[in-house]
Symmetry: C2
Subunit: 406 residues, 2 copies
């Protein structure tokens, strides 16, 4: 299939581009590269040095003979987006191209507005471009399990059958997102659902859980094919951060009680889920929601799993509870369905000690690059960010580039 991956420079967008290319799909990788600028603004940096998109696609071609076309593009430009969609005969577009950090969205009013405008406008432009130029093309959109929040009932996949006062309907599952970022994904979901109904767009909304892991077999083929790995307070997801802390003997920092339960998945399953969704397109006008995760854990359970994996090697790991910077329940019911992708053939990589060892192994290789001050949460959900986010002094901080990588 011919597919554009939007957000192809990101932690998941790049492995997805490689995975799809390796399986014979004709991949166009698009990104505005803003994620690298956000790193500079936040004083953060991928632990694993990453090559430029140009180097990456050249290296991929040299190693495999397969071509990934690289296109620098900002989805917030309607003209550029429409031109790109019009240029190719597309069967699918995969849309990762959003600001995807909850803490980033909570730093300040400007960051909240930037997140919602970037995400909502990019998705609106893509929907209009599809209507104009590729009405049969399947939109595979990355949502988040965080759209649902933590209701006291089972979480269904996008829709719920409600019986009320003797009448019935199948309605969108109520959303209780927990940050301006998560809210932006809820806005997107409503916008996409509407365009499926009025324009006949075909779309799959992948409500993804928290992803962990360092890469996929294709990113391991060469240093220039690696994807980014974030361990900091803004961009790092919890399991990757815990592994980084363990690698340097730092305590695992749990926010609050740690009873917060979420869905998780291995990055190798992310790329497979996207492919499965893409290979099994919905009908014209259908808005389909898959909950994309494989297991659920509480944050405390995750910390214990890592502690136990380290103990198998005779290493001791401490767990520290920090005041929770977020506003969220720390003990709650959580049971989220995730059957649709299994029905399409997903065989999950469950969390195992060997994976934890592998992540920690990679971190150890780059442990000199770890800055432990970045483990400390700088953004409070009640007060916003502290420190110098977005100030000129922060902008001037330059990311150290590993020699020979870019």
């Amino acid at each position: 299939m011919r597919v554009i991956v939007f957000g192809a420079d990101g932690y998941l967008g790049w492995p997805t581009s490689l995975h799809l290319s390796a399986r014979g799909h004709d991949v166009i990788a698009a990104d505005n590269l803003i994620r690298r600028r956000w790193d500079v603004l936040c004083g953060t940096e991928s632990l694993v040095p990453i090559a430029s998109m140009k180097r990456r696609v050249e290296r991929w071609k040299a190693l495999t003979g397969r071509e990934i076309k690289w296109e620098k593009l900002d989805l917030t430009s309607l003209a550029d987006t429409t031109a790109l969609i019009t240029q190719y005969q597309l069967e699918a577009v995969v849309h990762f191209a959003e600001q995807r950090s909850a803490p980033y969205s909570m730093i300040s009013a400007q960051h909240a507005v930037e997140t919602q405008v970037n995400n909502v406008v990019g998705t609106l432009n893509l929907l209009f471009a599809l209507r104009e130029s590729a009405p049969d093309c399947h939109l595979v959109k990355l949502g988040t399990m965080g759209e649902y929040g933590t209701p006291n009932i089972d979480i269904e996949e996008g829709f719920i059958d409600i019986e009320h006062n003797g009448r019935k309907d199948r309605l969108p599952f109520p959303k209780q997102p927990g940050s301006f970022y998560h809210l932006s994904k809820v806005h997107d979901s409503h916008n996409i659902m509407f365009t499926c109904r009025v324009w006949g767009i075909r779309a799959t909304d992948l409500n993804q859980g928290v992803v962990y892991g360092t890469g996929i077999p294709e990113t391991d083929m060469h240093g220039q094919l690696r994807t980014r790995f974030d361990y900091d307070d803004i961009w790092g997801t919890v399991l990757n951060r815990f592994c980084s802390q363990a690698a340097i003997g730092y305590p695992l920092t749990v926010y609050g009680e740690g009873g917060q339960t979420r869905g998780f998945l291995d990055i190798r399953d992310t790329v497979r889920c996207v492919e499965l969704a893409m290979l099994n397109a919905p009908e014209r006008g259908e808005f389909r929601v898959f909950n994309q995760f494989t297991e659920q854990f509480s944050v405390r359970e995750l910390a214990e799993r890592i502690k136990a994996a380290r103990a198998h090697h005779g290493l001791e790991t401490s767990i520290e509870h920090l005041p929770n910077p977020r506003t969220e329940l720390e003990a709650h019911y959580y049971n989220a369905k995730h059957q649709h992708l299994l029905d399409l053939g997903l065989v999950p990589h469950k969390l195992e000690d060997s994976l934890i060892d592998r992540v920690i192994g990679l971190v150890e290789r780059y442990k000199k690059r770890i800055r432990p001050e970045l483990f400390v949460p700088r953004v409070d959900w009640r007060r916003g960010g502290t420190g110098d986010f977005g100030k000129p002094s922060a902008r001037r901080r330059r990311v150290a580039v590993a020699p020979g990588i870019r």
Copy 2:
């Protein structure tokens, strides 16, 4: 109480400002005046000539001795919004300041983006300004009944008790909005609900039905106090448009079958509902939703009501069914609750022949200003707008100003 009315230049914002001022509240009227620019861009015009905000508040002072402070302000400026909120010791803010036309939002990608960015960013800025400078202030926000769509179950006021697989929760009522405008209000609702939870904002979301009527007693006091009256395809609401058509002997144009059922209310009840919400503030952290309408009708029923009212005067009115430019069910279940405002003391003005006569009477006074071509819908939900919306030629069209009014 001291209150800012945002969107005070609009059809409802201006009467609300007068109503609150007349009842002894200390009113600051804020607006960016963009509604008048949108008229120029759309080639539309208020049937009733309206004075400038400066003239309006001067006239109000001259007639009543009461002062309404006029502030030109754009909510999409965070700095200006924060400065204004900081300047006054506020007990409430009433927020009408949004692009409020569904057809306008469906003209093109640019109009969809403009609508969602304007509405979402304005509301986000207001929420951040309240958090910073007036955390006790009550936000009274205008939503729309159109957020709910037309589910096959009773529509509750914002929240619904759901029992599912043996467990229960009270969750946000699922939303199925029918245009990019209605979607923007859903986005706002989610954003506001979140800030109530994490920052303790106190908010009332007034999910309003379709408003009809020419004004309130205070707007009738002087020609310079009148509020706008829209009869066109972009800004006109259905009952006002039907009355305008009847006044010049034009057929009442029903979109499709006319079985579309919605909640309606008299403009005199709008101002009273806002006051009742304001006088009865929720607790800090509470997000409260009132469905603000008094009766429900199908579009066909409304047309029949007007036809019957005209027949009482021996006048014949024809009803014409146009192809529906919108994507909506034309026959559906509809039963929406609207108890909360009645419990607070609302005594509804139900739709009567005398009101219809009054609206038609006003239209007849200005019938020479009616341009019947503006009755014809120019925006199709599937294809967008036809014609020259937003083109320089349309921009050059100037609104005729009645002498002595501005």
